[in-house]
């Protein structure tokens, strides 16, 4: 097995919160993405997906743990980080916000070329635009973001990333702000780019259905921690963790489960429950578990899932011997 293109090892991100409470936005996350793989990071809004994505790109300082790129620690020097940023690129949810409203399409796409002084600017910009399906590229050079459709804007954002010929693309909710009609096109574009360019892709989404459509592997995140991870077919066909099951039960493409509505408050990273962090909302626990398991749910912390090939979940009901 080659070294993962991108790997988080026990990564922590803490934000100072109100009244001295610390929000553990990312709480010991271990995740690896192999070269050429598409991994979907799934979870409710606020569970720390975007923060983790930024950590992986060196945009967010960590409070602990390590990020490895191709087996090497993420550079910390300014020059090293700059070089890394050529290799890994970011795509965000809202393409209108991702583009400087006063820059033309050409300037937006050319920015990376200029930052890294790669040269041959016009040809590269035209190529990148053509690659994302904006043809003929010259027709888009002088346009401004507000003159484009949502789908075209996201294509421009993707072109701006591709122009640097990255190995890794991190896409944070790349289609959730787009019209349903263009979502498919943008996803198809990402998959085509992966096939043509051998890109490694980490797609962050709150939508399991989307993950199902494009990912090789799925990692499910809850309150700053990955609680289930595995090959897409296995996770979706045989979800292990009660949280994954609840998420899956409301995906229309799957719809073979009774919808499970999660009770309780949306989780707050500033007060992570003891024991299993999901226990206050866990339908399995609410439905009744043997006493010793239920006690463990409330009191015994679960281990961090190691990065490995199989399908794994962190839940006491699956394995009563699980411990921290």
């Amino acid at each position: 097995m080659s070294a993962p293109a991108l790997m988080a090892q026990a990564v922590e991100v803490h934000f100072p919160g109100e009244r001295g409470r610390t929000a553990r936005a990312v709480d010991a996350v271990t995740l690896s993405v192999l070269p050429g793989q598409v991994v979907a990071l799934v979870g409710e809004s606020g569970c720390g997906k975007s923060t983790l994505a930024r950590v992986l790109l060196g945009l967010q300082p960590t409070s602990g743990g390590e990020v490895l790129v191709g087996g090497q620690p993420l550079p910390t020097s300014r020059a090293g980080l700059k070089a890394y940023r050529r290799r890994a690129q970011l795509i965000l949810q809202d393409p209108m916000g991702s583009l400087n409203p006063r820059q033309t399409v050409y300037e937006a796409v050319a920015e990376g070329v200029r930052i890294h002084r790669i040269g041959d600017e016009e040809r590269r910009v035209a190529e990148a635009l053509a690659r994302v399906g904006l043809r003929p590229p010259e027709r888009f050079f002088a346009r401004y973001p507000h003159e484009l459709s949502g789908g075209q804007r996201q294509r421009v954002v993707i072109a701006g990333a591709l122009v640097l010929e990255p190995e890794i693309l991190v896409a944070d909710e790349p289609v959730s702000s787009l019209d349903a009609s263009v979502r498919g096109e943008i996803l198809a574009l990402l998959l085509r780019l992966r096939a043509e360019l051998g890109l490694t892709l980490l797609v962050v989404t709150h939508d399991l259905g989307l993950a199902w459509n494009i990912a090789d592997r799925i990692a499910v995140m809850y309150l700053g921690r990955i609680i289930e991870e595995g090959p897409t077919e296995q996770v979706l066909a045989d979800p292990q963790h009660p949280y994954t099951r609840a998420l899956l039960s409301v995906v229309p493409e799957v719809a073979r489960l009774e919808p499970i509505v999660l009770a309780g408050e949306p989780p707050d990273p500033a007060s992570v429950p003891p024991g299993c962090r999901f226990h206050p909302r866990c339908p399995l626990l609410a439905a009744g578990l043997p006493d010793e398991v239920a006690t463990r749910c409330r009191t015994v912390a679960l281990p961090v899932l190691p990065a490995q090939a199989g399908h794994r979940a962190a839940c006491h009901a699956l394995d009563p011997t699980m411990g921290p």
Binding site: R78, R86, S98, E111, G112, I115, L164
Partner: protein, 324 residues
């Protein structure tokens, strides 16, 4: 027609419309005042009989004829100022230079210093510089300008305690000094120090607060994250993307304030006996010197209208979204 051209024509047309309204309104407003018009215009002052004759000749003409004459050239009032017994536009012409010098200098200084304070405050949000600067600007913002002017006048002009008065307490130049000589220019600059400081202090708060708010707003934008992800250093991201975009509201504000260049300094000019249009307005109001007020009113309105059109046009040049 290109959208930009249409936008420009629309704002110029609306400016012209307002201008026409003001010109007409200005004529009738002062002719609709109740009472004997001659008495009104002369206000019981000892006006030479030939001037009263001229006034009667003007006011006895049919209203339509007067109006058409006025429309043909609104700046050629045939009625003299009662107070100064001079044609009103001659008076205004003599005073306009002093006001432009005073307020123009203050606006330039205030916009530069205010913008700089706003930028630094936003960059160091919540830190000491921000707290001090924002506290100071808010204090200045809420301070009446005549009050600040009086304080500066007393402390630095008159002198308190062992502190001698350093700066002239009024006027624009020491009598007898030739304003076109080097000594004259320095003398004018010396006279400008206190009034310019007062006006600058009062104006800069607005620029600092607007710039700070607008930059903070801009700094939350996604495209800054994208630019960082492309390898641009944080500092450069702010300088290249955030600050120019955040400048838009400030630049508009500067242009709109230019409209008040001629009218804005009534109190400060009065406090410092600065022989500009502000002091002239004050004298005209005390009369009231109707003919002079009428001309001043017209001039101030035109200033504001032109500045608004200019602000519109500048905004359109700077922000592609407006041109759509």
């Amino acid at each position: 027609m290109r959208p930009g051209t249409r936008y420009a024509l629309r704002s110029v047309a609306s400016g012209l419309g307002t201008l026409l309204f003001v010109v007409i309104f200005n004529f009738f407003l002062f002719r609709m005042l109740p009472g004997d018009p001659i008495g009104l215009y002369t206000r019981g002052r000892n006006v030479p009989p030939e001037q009263i004759e001229a006034l009667r000749a003007e006011l006895d003409r049919p209203l339509v004829e007067q109006f058409l004459g006025y429309l043909a050239n609104p700046f050629s009032s045939t009625i003299n100022s009662a107070r100064f017994n001079q044609p009103v536009w001659t008076l205004i012409g003599e005073r306009v230079g002093a006001t432009l010098l005073l307020v123009g200098t203050a606006i330039v200084l205030a916009s530069i210093v205010g913008t700089w304070l706003g930028i630094r405050s936003a960059w160091q949000r919540g830190q000491r510089f921000d707290n001090v600067s924002t506290g100071l600007t808010l204090t200045l913002y809420s301070m009446p300008e005549f009050w600040l002017g009086m304080i500066l006048l007393i402390v630095f002009g008159v002198g308190v305690g062992f502190l001698p008065g350093m700066f002239p307490i009024g006027g624009i130049i020491t009598p007898g000094v030739d304003p076109s000589s080097l000594a004259g220019i320095l003398d004018i600059a010396w006279h400008m120090v206190l009034p310019v400081t007062t006006l600058t202090a009062v104006y800069l708060a607005e620029y600092a607060l607007v710039m700070r708010a607008s930059l903070l707003d801009e700094m939350g934008q996604d495209y800054l994250v994208v630019a960082r992800a492309k390898g641009l250093m944080d500092k450069v991201v702010r300088r290249r993307h955030a600050v120019p975009n955040a400048m838009l509201p400030t630049i508009t504000l500067i242009f709109m304030n230019l409209g008040f260049v001629i009218s804005g300094a009534i109190t400060v000019e009065t406090v410092f006996s600065w022989p500009g249009l502000g002091l002239l307005s004050y004298d005209a109001l005390r009369g009231p010197d109707i003919a002079l007020l009428q001309a001043i009113f017209l001039l101030f309105s035109i200033g504001v209208i032109l500045a608004n059109v200019a602000a519109d046009l500048v905004y359109a040049v700077l922000d592609p979204r407006v041109r759509a």
